[in-house]
Symmetry: D2
Subunit: 325 residues, 4 copies
């Protein structure tokens, strides 16, 4: 099957590679001509511009955008809206907000173009392990492109089957799922990332407490100098916190036990914020997911203004003068 | 009435002054002889050591400790346990943990010495405004020392009366209250401080959001450059957030609108931690009081180890390299 | 001065009354004719419909909307947009989202109509105490209507002056403030309510811990049966948590010490959510304000689905079967 | 090798079984004679009382306690302290607080008895999958009993090795680890459970948001009726939230998609509380772990008193009357 890919960054390039390994064809474009050449040299058809790209695709076309969310993705959706034809499918595999999917699907449907929103998880490991995909939008388009998704997904692998799944969607066990109407794919991916934030923060706080039990203010007979790398490792075997995130933590700690290589400045990519906004719209208390987001906000500041307000109140009430140094 | 005071820091000295202004007598001691001389020059009887101090008191004696909580207070409780006699009263007016009060009251009772734990709020303003006192321990001792507490308390002042208080304790309206058995006074004071932490943090976060709405990433037509000092001031009149803490914030912002004088390093004095421990023992969810405490913990670190763990996971999963600059 | 008021609910009617007490004239309208008659009998000019209402006003007109935020307010903004003339002023005194103000101000400016957004705090006490007003929008309109705002505001009263306010806006000390361009008034009011949520939750958690220290699982020698009404009362005198919210708590506890009259189902009015959304847009960690919001969400459910997910995981991992009864 | 086991509940019995499968010998005791007979019929040596139990063990003895933490475990520690001899080893494999381990180790050392605290994770799956063990205390005792721990641990299995582990403890890769001096094992296990709470809550909140996006208040074009069982399943393949806890969630949702079988009343077993106490002692902000604990506290109440305080304040300020029905 043929797929057109726009955006050959880390994710886009590896998606193309994994498709080609499975025997599919790819037409590729990126504003970085070197990126196009690189993938073309591995067997893809490189395009020099968007018109050239569309011309190289056979109708009904399938075009996958793998671009930074926001203006870049939006501009390419609009560019494709003008170039694709009725019956073609446009896929946004990036991290768009699901509200944008709803709007785009309506806009493109008016021209007969089908739209799929695909939340794609896999990181730098996707090429080897496969991509977990959460898909929303036009159902017939999804069905037609099933071979593409199947090739990208991890497949069953040696992961033990879940019991009681009779009558449920077998594709979920392959690692891809049609979730529902336009936006459903990105909605599910957004919540996935929200959960990811929360799990990461849970692990991070735990290791913080493990580490600080060595500090001098702790009474000596219960002060421990723990080997964090070994602890992460032991938890990978038979413990209920075993998880991919723990695997990654174990690797990082084995390489650099004090994590001195890392500043501790933590970005957030949008989905964490949107998850909290969705929780608020639904009136769902989401304490942990929100706390995880705020920990990242806090990590990027020397001091918050709130902290200065606290210091100021303490000074005014109790005459406390506080300072680090 | 006569009161002995040990500890002539900011709080202890002003308590003595307020008592003397009301016509009471004070015998005072502090390890800092200069502090003793200063108060003695204002009319108190200065003591040169603890034996001298006890000798200057008339039985039944009343001794108030106003010392840093922890080992210093404990040592003086034990020193008084050896020097006081049956019928005397020992008052801990500092910020001891209520568990310590329970233990001490039992220990002293075995020798016939009465014990009162007094949570004392007032800060640097107590001399003029009076002290709000939450009192636990031996009830007869409390009743006997009522004139002392009455003199220290703010009194009704011009604060409007609360309705429906028929049959309730009239002393609460004076600003002091017998709360219950040993430890009850410090327990109530501890919760008071826990609430203080939460209210402070609420105000602080609000001003943080007010301030950051001026930042460049906010769309220009809803970016505001707000005058925080004026906002704090306007809220003091007729708004439901009006409070002493807001008054203090208004003062601080009027003097220094950017709070540039403050580092934003915020200590915690113990009661905030103990409040959370009490909540956990009682299985009461205390999200806000705990978050307020953690904000202070966080304010004292450049980066938490947790943040480095997050960075490390992000690097391992997505190849993200994060740094401040 | 003359003001037109649309919306004669609790807030609108009392605003009119306070204006009339100060010698101003009011033209009033409400879809409830009885509400119009009531205020008309107190001296206002009642209108039978919106056209009649506008006809009774003298140019340059000033129309204040005091309506439920959302569709009702929006419909009346649009109705006024069609009926008012260049030079007139439309005031939204309700709790609109500041984004709506920005949009409306632009729309009305195109027709020469001035727009003010006024965040109004005061509750059922506003008639007597006055209203704290945070004002955004057209500055000349604000200056022209100064007598109206001055009459509604609480004034200085006997609240002690804040030091160091030389050069700052004297109107803040009267209880009203021009905050900035369109939306600034409602933005500041929104944050005010966010802080209110946080302060309320801090007080509420504190009393929860005070109350549960009486429960049977607490060791007997540190189990206290505290009088919460007296504790609230004593904190009103000289304590740093003294605040209007504490005054209200003291009243409620004096009337009904167990609060058995209250179900504990707590609504949220919108501003709490918007405050969190603003925090997220600005990347400000707002732990306490958010936790206060979530506590309200949680209060309205028997059990969250999240809790069932927890139970399910525990059952699957450890065979735990959990049930209330 | 021979091990004595006291406590034949779910965990203790399966530990004995797993040991016997590996060719070790077991002497067992439980106050429930039927439980003793059952394991005896599978090949263990059953004891009728503690003296009989000790008599059946060959010196240097190794006794494992697998009992409810708290008084039951403590009583058996003391009973063994009286019956064991110098050179014997007492193992607490339950969930004791690490402070108790420190105290016990000192007490037993005075009599020459060695003490090991073993945090044991595995739940109902341990018999088949093996137990992840975190071990503190007497190092020579640990080394001597290595064959026991090795038999109980999961072993490497087919879990991919972590890179860069040269020079680190190879036993961690088998699923057991000597963590440090007395208490270190239970400390690490405690943090493990704290992290578990946080990860569980992250997953639970995520599914709560997924489920509530179907509710009627959400605009129809972005309201989704998601299949939660399929979503849990798809995330098991290639997604970064893949974890054992997610596996369990997927099973539970496949069996009972609405989780109607579960009340949502969630107990906490102690370690979650102790983790927060440790965080507070170390001044580590642990927002997520604490929020997860509080969610459990809240799940066990119809309404908190805090919620009633909120309702009362709202009534007093705004005249709001709130009720569920």
């Amino acid at each position: 099957m043929q797929l057109g890919m726009i955006g050959l960054g880390r994710m886009g390039a590896n998606i193309v590679r994994r498709l080609m390994r499975a025997g599919h064809d790819a037409v590729v474009f990126d504003i970085d001509a070197a990126a196009v050449s690189r993938i073309a040299s591995e067997g893809a058809t490189g395009a020099t511009d968007l018109d050239d790209f569309v011309a190289a695709l056979v109708a009904p076309r399938a075009v996958w955008l793998m671009l930074p969310h926001g203006p870049t993705t939006e501009a390419h959706v609009q560019a494709m809206a003008q170039r694709l034809q009725a019956g073609d499918t446009l896929i946004d595999g990036g991290n768009s907000h699901f509200h944008d999917d709803v709007r785009r699907a309506e806009q493109l449907a008016a021209r007969g173009i089908r739209y799929l929103d695909v939340g794609t998880s896999g990181g730098v490991h996707g090429l080897e392990r496969g991509y977990c995909m959460m898909i929303g939008g036009d159902r017939p388009a999804f069905e037609r492109l099933d071979p593409i998704f199947k090739a990208l997904a991890p497949g069953r692998g040696d992961i033990p089957a879940t019991g009681s799944r009779e009558g449920l969607d077998a594709r979920a066990e392959q690692g891809y799922l049609y979730c529902g109407a336009a936006g459903a794919g990105h909605f599910v991916k957004m919540i996935h990332n929200g959960i990811e934030y929360g799990m990461m923060q849970a692990i991070a706080e735990g290791f913080d407490i493990l580490r600080n039990v060595s500090k001098a203010s702790i009474p000596e007979n219960r002060r421990y100098d723990l080997n964090l790398a070994d602890i992460a490792e032991v938890w990978r075997r038979g413990s209920v916190v075993s998880s991919w995130l723990l695997d990654l933590t174990a690797e990082a700690l084995a390489e650099n036990p004090t994590l001195s290589r890392f500043d501790g400045v933590v970005e957030d990519s949008g989905e964490g914020r949107w998850t909290v906004q969705a929780a608020i719209e639904e009136a769902v208390p989401a304490e942990v997911l929100t706390a995880a987001l705020y920990a990242r906000f806090r990590s990027r500041q020397d001091h918050t203004f709130a902290e200065k307000v606290l210091s100021a109140m303490r000074y005014k009430f109790g005459g406390h003068v506080e300072s680090k140094g």
